[in-house]
Symmetry: C2
Subunit: 355 residues, 2 copies
């Protein structure tokens, strides 16, 4: 990566406001599709990445995590929290920001809000998984949990898989109403349901994305018919699952990064050596995905650092053309690298110099 | 921590330019002293901290690291790189930024440049260690390595320990000249030397802070006289040490966080069970520091996350009164936390809304 000597101190920053404008300018479906391509590309070169389970700091109220990764040329990390009780205080359950840096110099090259970007990459990753795992020609998706992630999931599955109908259910009807309203006029047949059972009628795919931190049972065994693809997004930290264990035992299970999913995913309910397949192995053709029309496939998605990396790469390749970013003076850049102290002294304001 | 509902999206940011102005407004010595107090306070409650060795991503050219920690109420982390060859390209060897967040909500509360702040906290920590380990009434310090860290070390030792004379040596005379120039008129007797031996004459303390990534021998055994305190700062990553092993074997060795120092410090030259004392144990009085006037004491400093946390806490308590900060729109804050999608849609510019 080449550095402009006149702007060594500058790191481009995409604020929340700019990210919203970027999404709107590019178009949410086009951006989901673009990020999905970057995710799929990075999963294809999975073995190249420096992978580590996220680095968590747990408290009673939630968790704060750092998710670093590197492909040897570019380094990326995300800061993200998960605080289920936040919504009661009018705060987001999940907020995030992240950055990319040049491995050769260690200099940051992009800083960005990642609450919105995470919503996009999560939906894009789900759709990539379903593309490789769900029944061919799936047209109907049930969506259990109609919170902040739901519209992004619906549109990702529409644009990447060709889903035509989404069937919404949430224990809070207001959430379903909000989701239906946001999806109106976007080319999807949106059906609001009053139970999970009803939502599942005729669906080839079910997405579960609920937020409570507990061992919940959003889906029970009898609700899961043959051939279903389950896109399980909400079970993503220790003590938080959405599916009854019996469903897992009947399913082909696919994960992002096994060591992390054993801790955070639905499979925390299973033995540590229960066989699972990593998604990248399916995408590269090294392992089989769906083995029969009747098989139940489960994508036990918890979100992995490589996906954030992909989303940040997409952003890095596109933010400039939108014009929606600002320059942050973030890196100390003395004329003589050994003279940090002198640089500070020379920064005196006229008042400080006179005193 | 209470949040203002009108500014949930805002994270205060201290840029490089603002950090320089803050240092100048507060005064570098006063700031070093203040940070040293925060460091000492945090070392006193060491056991409370969530500690983990830094999370590194190594490459041929250097390392990028994340250094997280938490005291249960506040969470902090630092991004930092170490690229020894960077100076050849006119880049900093080390650049850094960091943040604090509220553990209860996971929301970031401060983002800051940390290249300058790291220089300050490194010097402050060294002085805190020397205060507890060096001979009483030490007045003369040798400084081997006169790069970016040297002036901060000299002033920290002046203001916190009462050092009156610094004796400078660097293999590059231009570095010594720069350091002497920067320290002129600051109440220190500055002596430029042409060899390490000369620098050590009459010194009760020696600070080594050189930057080459290699097993170097900045100090050899015969140079180290009885009663000396060695403040070894430059040996701070695998494969980078400054002292001959024989010196270690003659010294009482003090470290920040043993698991990290075994990997990164001078003691990487010793067996994994070689006895060392953690500095916090000395500060809290649980273990002895210097045991005799003739003992050689060695602070094998590599820099630990808690020190960055202390420096960020100091900054958090002081940036506002200086006025040198800006507001970053970093956290997505929809009126309804479940309606992230709707928030994005409502951000349309007039042009986007019309199209």
């Amino acid at each position: 990566m080449k550095f402009d000597p006149n702007s060594l101190n500058i790191v481009p920053f995409v604020s929340v406001d700019h990210m919203m404008k970027i999404v709107l300018q590019i178009g949410v479906e086009k951006m989901l599709k673009g990020i999905a391509e970057y995710v799929e590309d990075d999963f294809k070169r999975w073995e190249l990445f420096d992978k580590t389970p996220r680095v968590p700091s747990h408290s009673e109220k939630g968790v704060i995590e750092l998710m670093p990764t590197s492909d040897g040329e570019v380094y990326g990390f995300k800061y993200v929290n998960g605080h289920p009780a936040n919504t009661k205080e009018g705060l987001q359950t999940v907020t995030a920001f992240g950055m990319l840096a040049d491995v050769e110099t260690g200099y940051p090259v992009l800083l960005s809000e990642m609450t919105i970007l995470t919503a996009l990459r999560t939906a894009a990753t789900s759709a990539v998984a379903a593309k490789h795992l769900a029944a061919k020609n799936a047209k109907v998706m049930a969506m259990i949990g109609n919170g902040a992630q739901s519209e992004f999931q619906a549109l990702a599955f529409k644009t990447i898989l060709g889903i035509e109908e989404v069937r919404l259910y949430d224990i809070d009807p207001a959430a379903t109403e909000k989701c239906a309203r946001n999806l109106a006029g976007r080319g999807l047949n949106v059906v609001s349901c009053t139970s999970s059972q009803e939502a599942l009628e005729g669906a080839q795919i079910v997405t579960t994305c609920t937020a409570d931190k507990q061992y919940a049972t959003i889906l029970t065994d009898n609700m899961v018919g043959s051939g279903l693809h389950i896109n399980a997004i909400g079970g993503d930290c220790p003590g938080k699952t959405e599916l009854h264990k019996d469903i897992l035992l009947r399913s082909g299970i696919f994960v992002e990064y096994t060591p992390q999913t054993r801790i955070e995913g639905e499979i925390q309910q299973l033995d540590d050596d229960y066989p699972v397949t990593e998604l990248w192995e399916v995408i590269t053709g090294q392992k089989e995905g769906r083995t029969s029309d009747g098989q139940i496939t489960l994508f036990d998605g918890v979100g992995f650092a490589v996906e954030d990396f992909s989303a940040l790469r997409y952003l890095r390749d596109h933010y400039k053309e939108t014009g929606f970013y600002e320059d942050l003076d973030m890196i100390a850049d003395p004329d003589d690298p050994r003279d940090l102290f002198g640089m500070v002294q020379r920064a005196k304001t006229p008042e400080q110099a006179a005193s």
